[in-house]
Symmetry: C2
Subunit: 338 residues, 2 copies
């Protein structure tokens, strides 16, 4: 169905029909000039992401439902990275004429699924036409207890540096998707070959936010001194934390968690897997620092690995290689303005 | 200066340097995964707008500073329309390669000016490249006392319908700007002719949100039963209020406030000025309803005009013409998806 048949209000009515409300803080959702929220006892976290077709995603190989899911989840990830809980999102879409109502419903189904899984209410947005390509702008509102909020600036000398999951998988998944896209060019009925590489493809197309890690930390009674999510690459994020905390760091090459499929893919493409893990981006893992006395506690947390420690600022930021040498970290992460 | 010389973080540092914080609810602004806000005693209002080049604005005649100002103000207007006060905004920009650092600083200077005038803090955003054209996504967070929030759904039979300022001016300003754009095509050193029409050009390029009306209402002790801002046109907004409130309405053609310049421009272009006032859009005036017993109070409020009254739903929505006839209202307002 053509979107013009429904018009703006018709489309919005259709997309937002029977939206559930699961959070007590959501007083009023879609349908007025503003959404109305109430957070009497907690602080409010706000984050926003703008995703543009041809810059952040390629619809040749990204299914619309996955795109919707990912667009929401990357915002949730920013809220978890402050040690908070995402509660509401607004979704703005710019839609070009090649999209049908069914396309946008597919995109929305992914957004709604992410909201359902993470317990988030969709409370508003804006829908308009776009002259070229799909535009997705999502703002997420979360909450956190005032004394539990973790910023990027609290890392201290001797703190342990920890990271969740494994790194570089989303980037190697992207390389694989791009390779198959090139291979498929001009071929009808092309079947991409993802055999044995499903994990890295999923990490690229359907990332998850590490709510589980935030819960584990809370249950263990640990409040990190600094935390952020790994969206631009470990190297870039570590340098952010060190700069804003006015400290240095040492991470150990041999401690950087890398999945087997990530390593195999890097080998196939003749790429250095550690470089991919340091600079790949889109991992949406949590990078955090904890005081040294938490060592026994954090080393036993499932899905968490201690990869190094914070130093005095004069020592700078470096990776200690397997042979004991030091390589200065560089923020080579994905730069959307270069 | 090319934006690529600075990169994303360099550009953001430059744009957000020395951002003031004027609201006590803004605990942490730009620079972390999320902004942190605190509203212990009030409810929170959230609204968002997506503006795309070629759809919502034409940089042939819209100066970037005005565009920035307007992009922020239209969001503030949504918060005032709930009887709230805007406090924070996030600003996401998609920037194509034809824009320089100076261009984006110009845009930002307009956003910052709007924030300064309306007492709003810029607390976050996202900045990325765009493949074609400028993308602006702004989310505004406001606050309101729980018992003072005004939605669209509270209008009751016999309520008075009021509107601030005058209508149709922004639309006629747009027609004038488009006419001068066509006249200028291919001509060097073309000087557009806005003589005697400065007001309607300003209404299009630099609208204001009616904070003054919200304050007047508060000082007069009036809480409207329903309110929204006129962005799509009076006719469309009235029908929204009537639909969500389950009522009908009568507005009187002779009561619709129209500025002299709006009328002159409509005459020049052979357009019906009442149609422009009903369907023009982008007025950002406040449309609200109050109980009948407030008649004496509202009729003396500066800048407010009583234009009609709410009826039983069975009577539908209509305009009473000067000759006493009735024309059903139609939502012909600007439809960005048609």
């Amino acid at each position: 169905m053509e979107i013009s048949q429904l018009g703006e209000f018709g489309l919005i009515d259709r997309l937002t029909k029977e939206l559930p409300v699961v959070n007590a803080s959501t007083l009023k959702g879609v349908g007025d000039d503003c959404a109305v929220l109430r957070n009497r006892d907690t602080d409010i976290l706000v984050t926003t992401d703008l995703l543009l077709e041809g810059v952040h995603f390629d619809l040749t190989y990204v299914p619309l439902k996955h795109l919707g899911y990912k667009s929401a989840v990357v915002n949730f990830s920013d809220v978890y990275a402050m040690n908070g809980t995402p509660r509401q999102i607004t979704v703005s879409l710019g839609i070009s004429s090649r999209f049908t109502v069914e396309h946008i419903e597919e995109l929305y189904s992914g957004i709604r699924l992410a909201c359902e899984i993470y317990g988030v209410d969709l409370v508003g947005g804006d829908t308009t036409s776009s002259r070229q390509g799909l535009v997705i702008s999502i703002t997420c509102i979360g909450e956190a207890e005032a004394d539990k909020i973790v910023s990027r600036s609290g890392a201290k000398d001797t703190d342990l540096i920890c990271v969740s999951g494994d790194l570089g998988a989303a980037y190697m998944g992207l390389q694989l998707l791009e390779r198959e896209k090139v291979a498929s060019a001009g071929q009808k009925d092309f079947v991409p070959n993802f055999g044995g590489k499903e994990y890295i493809v999923e990490r690229q197309l359907k990332p998850e936010a590490r709510r589980d890690i935030v819960r584990e930390l809370a249950e263990a009674g640990i409040v990190p001194t600094a935390m952020m999510d790994v969206s631009d690459g470990l190297s870039s994020e570590l340098m952010h934390i060190c700069k804003t905390s006015n400290v240095g760091c040492r991470v150990f090459e041999e401690r950087i968690p890398i999945d087997y499929q990530t390593a195999v893919m890097a080998e196939e493409l003749g790429m250095n897997v550690v470089t991919a893990a340091l600079n790949g981006g889109e991992d949406y893992e949590l990078l955090f620092t904890v005081p040294l006395h938490y060592h026994e506690k954090v080393k036993d947390l499932p899905g968490v690995k201690v990869i190094g420690h914070i130093t005095k600022p004069s020592l700078g930021c470096a990776m200690v290689t397997r042979d004991g040498g030091e390589i200065p970290l560089q923020a080579q992460g994905w730069n959307p303005l270069k």
